[in-house]
């Protein structure tokens, strides 16, 4: 499930972001984590935002090959498992 993967990633992110301090805050850490996950996954409506669009992949590949745009592995994403 996509949510599971995202949850794992967010857990890792929160642990990273707050370090030892977060571990010492006890229950509130879990409350905060729960709120964060609910907030991030709760609403998928982004009708007010810029749209997600298809790229012209032939052009992008050509530009990558010519070194005019980068093909740098991004961080902070999760693979979506639709199963």
């Amino acid at each position: 499930m996509k949510t599971v993967l995202l949850t794992v990633l967010l857990l890792a992110g929160l642990a990273f972001s707050e370090g030892d301090e977060a571990l010492s805050t006890g229950e509130s850490t879990y409350t905060g984590l729960f709120d964060l996950i609910m907030e991030l996954t709760g609403s998928t409506d982004r009708s007010w935002a810029k749209p997600i669009e298809n790229a012209d992949m032939d052009r992008i590949i050509e530009l990558i090959e010519n070194g005019l745009v980068s093909c740098h592995k991004a961080e902070w994403y999760a693979v979506v498992d639709d199963e």
Binding site: S17, A49, I52, A55, H72, A74, V80
Partner: protein, 331 residues
């Protein structure tokens, strides 16, 4: 598996099928992997005075090596840099400048800091972070000029290397963020608080747009939020709007409106309130909150007078909040 990915860098949380790019336009699903199209490819490279960011309480008078790639996760209808922030990375000419070259250039130009600015450094996160890490190693400071629309995990990773930030707080209205900017308010407020808590020197800018966010009550709400959440010593810049991008039908912000906002925010208790993008008699000066002495006078981005001594007022010795050249003082 669908080879789809979900980016969690910013609150948009774009889920992208192969061949789709995120709302920021610079992160793309290439065969089931998310890639950045703009790593090491800035489209703007300049040597700016730090006052232009604007940062008025951070190493005044110093030069800042300033870079930006294409792309932004917001779509503000008033964007002053829309030619690059709203452009697709493949449609604008870029430099080949990996992080090592950024540091080399900053050193060669005698810059004491690097600013990630003009567009939105959050969306070129990996480039910003890698440059900032190298800059820190080289003894160069890092400045983030951001709209603050980023999730907490990546922000924490970035904040580790960021010495100063100017965060654009566009409004205290979530509807304004949605309708005018294509974002939401709360993540921006969270970013400001998190940066402050992480020890970054923070200044806040609010662009006042006639008829859209110039209501005195909204100015009051913003100043109160700053006072309550980041304290009276957080510099607040009210910036003048000029007709731009999709808001060419509105006039420039009247100077009286900016001056009025400044006075209201100071009445509410913010010590350092400035007017930007405009020449006003008092709006560019830093005054001592204790004795009223003019501490830093500016003409445009030039410093014409500096009476801060060792981080204190040169007249009454009251401590002045900021990071002053070479003195590393921050209250």
């Amino acid at each position: 598996m669908s080879n789809s990915v979900q980016c969690v860098l910013c609150p948009h949380l774009c889920t992208l099928a192969p061949g789709e790019r995120g709302r920021c336009s610079v992160r793309l699903n290439l065969g089931g992997e998310l890639i950045s199209l703009v790593y090491g490819r800035p489209v703007a490279v300049n040597n700016d005075p730090v006052e232009k960011k604007p940062l008025f309480h951070f190493m005044p008078g110093t030069d800042v090596f300033s870079i930006a790639t294409a792309g932004c996760n917001l779509k503000c209808e008033f964007c002053q840099n829309w030619e690059i922030s709203q452009a697709l990375p493949e449609d604008v000419t870029s430099y080949d400048m990996p992080p090592e070259a950024v540091i080399e250039n900053a050193l060669a130009y005698g810059c004491e800091a690097i600013a990630y600015t003009y567009t939105e450094p959050a969306v070129y996160f990996e480039y910003t972070r890698d440059c900032a890490r190298l800059a820190r190693e080289a003894g160069i400071k890092n400045i983030l000029v951001t709209a603050g629309y980023i999730n907490r995990g990546p922000l924490s990773e970035l904040a580790e290397y960021i010495d100063a930030a100017n965060v654009d707080l566009k409004s205290m209205s979530d509807a304004y963020y949605r309708n005018i900017c294509g974002g939401t308010l709360q993540p921006v407020l969270d970013t400001i608080i998190h940066l402050k808590e992480s020890g970054t020197w923070v200044e806040i800018t609010n662009l006042i747009v006639p008829t859209l966010n110039d209501d005195p009550d909204e100015v009051d709400a913003l100043a109160r939020w700053v006072l309550d959440n980041t304290g009276e010593d957080t510099p607040l810049h009210f910036s003048r709007f000029f007709p731009m991008y999709r808001l060419t039908n509105l006039p420039p912000t009247p100077l009286d409106t900016l001056q009025g906002a400044r006075e209201r925010a100071m009445d509410i208790g913010i010590n350092y309130v400035y007017v930007g993008n405009a020449v006003t008699p008092e709006g560019m000066q830093t005054k001592c909150p204790e004795c009223g002495e003019t501490l830093i006078a500016r003409h445009g981005y030039m410093i014409t007078e500096n009476n801060i001594l060792n981080g204190n007022c040169g007249n009454c010795s009251a401590p002045i909040a900021g990071v002053w050249n070479g003195m590393e003082e921050q209250q």
